[in-house]
Subunit: 283 residues, 2 copies
């Protein structure tokens, strides 16, 4: 049976380290602060917001919650971004996406000060992920995959990595982050032919498709490490990942559970980005 | 024996189309203009500059050549970028890179107006390549690979593509451009294990390593299309690609020669980007 790579210890390890760094910043007179910006009452957004606030409080990061009605005009949204940019006490901004108003979303992404872009909204952060320059911040969930592999001592250097999914939130950025660490990455997607054959050959498999239990036993092989980024509801309304855990876990070497895997580490990565932003500010 | 995918007809096809588009712009009172910015006397830069000027002249694009001594201070370089930004008659800027002065190079890249960034210097263009948004312009050589495959009717949708090399000039951008066209891309590099095994499995192989005749018969298989982006001098001072043409051509379905392959199409792609920029300006 596979080792279970849980996210909670990853988050706990990060939380301890970040709490110490937060105290050092406060000793310098800097209180790290995250501003969250939510438009509407999407339950997923609210759940993530709640988790992020809790994690930040635990570490000592202040949070300013901005909540707008779902029909807020674009000008109101961008007005808040302008305020966040101008306010030196705010070190990071998390805007829940996607917005219904695509033009407002684009305008907000173009407007945000890249130095406060802790979840990869801006061109500067996207370019930083693509080039590996370290500028800006990668998307929190993509970085959470990296932190999880690091925590469990899974080296990616020279390893074959198959990523299923090419979204800008996970698939593409996690591919770039792990390529920067010398993995040989194959990015798979809906047009990929003979997908199970490709994924079976990988040393590490990252599933980020958004389809409940899509990856079954036919997609995996012995010795693999499987990272499941999916968060789906199955037909019975039960939370599950992109991987069919019951059939895959007996085959592979290690696997992340859902819930309790990558998702459990994501808010700690968000907090890490806020602390890093505050530290850059302090320099 | 393989089909030889020459760059000259690709460039000729683009040149005809661009000449017509250039005439339409001139009829609207817009003369498309490229500004080239060269620091020092690197023979490779001079050769590319000469080719670019010739191509532009053929199409009807005006060129303003800026040539600075190799010890030009950073402020002089960025001063020219500011002038290019401010001058409405200039539609594209090609700065030959790398510069010896890294800080000056970075400053120039940060300063250039993204709408004039015809060779992917800016974060906006890099983010556009990464996200597939179409914002900015991809690097000319990476786009030349795409144009060449298009010209010869090589569909990449659903095909397995192996790219050797992860540079920001070729490997990474061409991977993203062809992933946007639904190829399943594996990006290989110096840490890749069992490289020949991976490349033999690909339908399309792009070699962008920068090592003379690195890809020999052991890296390829029947039916493949091989795109050679390398431009190297061998031990005898003879121009050659990253692919050992003599041993590979008898095996594969199609191959680009060096010289006369991708390189021959690159200045036409640069001209295409200048025309596109001028057209966006005209709208």
């Amino acid at each position: 049976m596979a080792d279970v790579l849980k996210g909670v210890p990853v988050a706990a390890g990060l939380t301890d380290e970040l709490t110490a760094r937060c105290e050092r910043l406060k000793a310098l007179g800097i209180v790290p602060m995250l501003a969250t910006l939510r438009v509407g009452e999407n339950p997923g957004d609210i759940a993530y917001e709640t988790g992020a606030v809790k994690r930040c409080e635990k570490i000592g990061i202040a949070v300013r919650k901005i909540i707008l009605p779902s029909d807020a005009p674009a000008g109101e949204i961008t007005g808040h971004i302008r305020e966040i940019n101008a306010d030196e006490s705010v070190h990071g901004c998390l805007m829940f996406r996607p917005l219904t108003d695509k033009a407002a979303e684009r305008a907000a992404c173009e407007l945000l000060d890249p130095s406060k872009d802790v979840d990869c909204m801006t061109d500067a952060s996207l370019a930083g992920v693509f080039t590996g320059s370290g500028a800006g911040f990668p998307p929190c969930t993509a970085q959470a995959c990296v932190e999880l592999l690091d925590y469990y001592g899974v080296s990616v250097d020279g390893k074959n990595l198959a990523v299923i999914g090419r979204s800008l939130v996970i698939g593409r950025p996690v591919s770039m982050l792990l390529m920067s660490r010398n993995a040989t990455v194959t990015v798979c997607h809906s047009h990929t032919q003979s997908l199970p054959e490709i994924t079976r050959r990988a040393d590490i498999l990252i599933a980020a498709i958004g389809r409940a239990r899509f990856v079954d036993a036919s997609y995996v092989s012995e010795g693999q490490v499987v990272v499941d980024v999916g968060i789906n509801l199955d037909d019975e309304g039960k939370l599950c990942g992109d991987v069919d855990y019951e059939s895959v876990a007996p085959i592979v070497r290690a696997i992340t559970p859902v819930p309790g895997g990558v998702g459990a580490a994501t808010t700690a990565v968000l907090a890490k980005h806020v602390i890093e932003s505050a530290e850059r500010f302090a320099l």
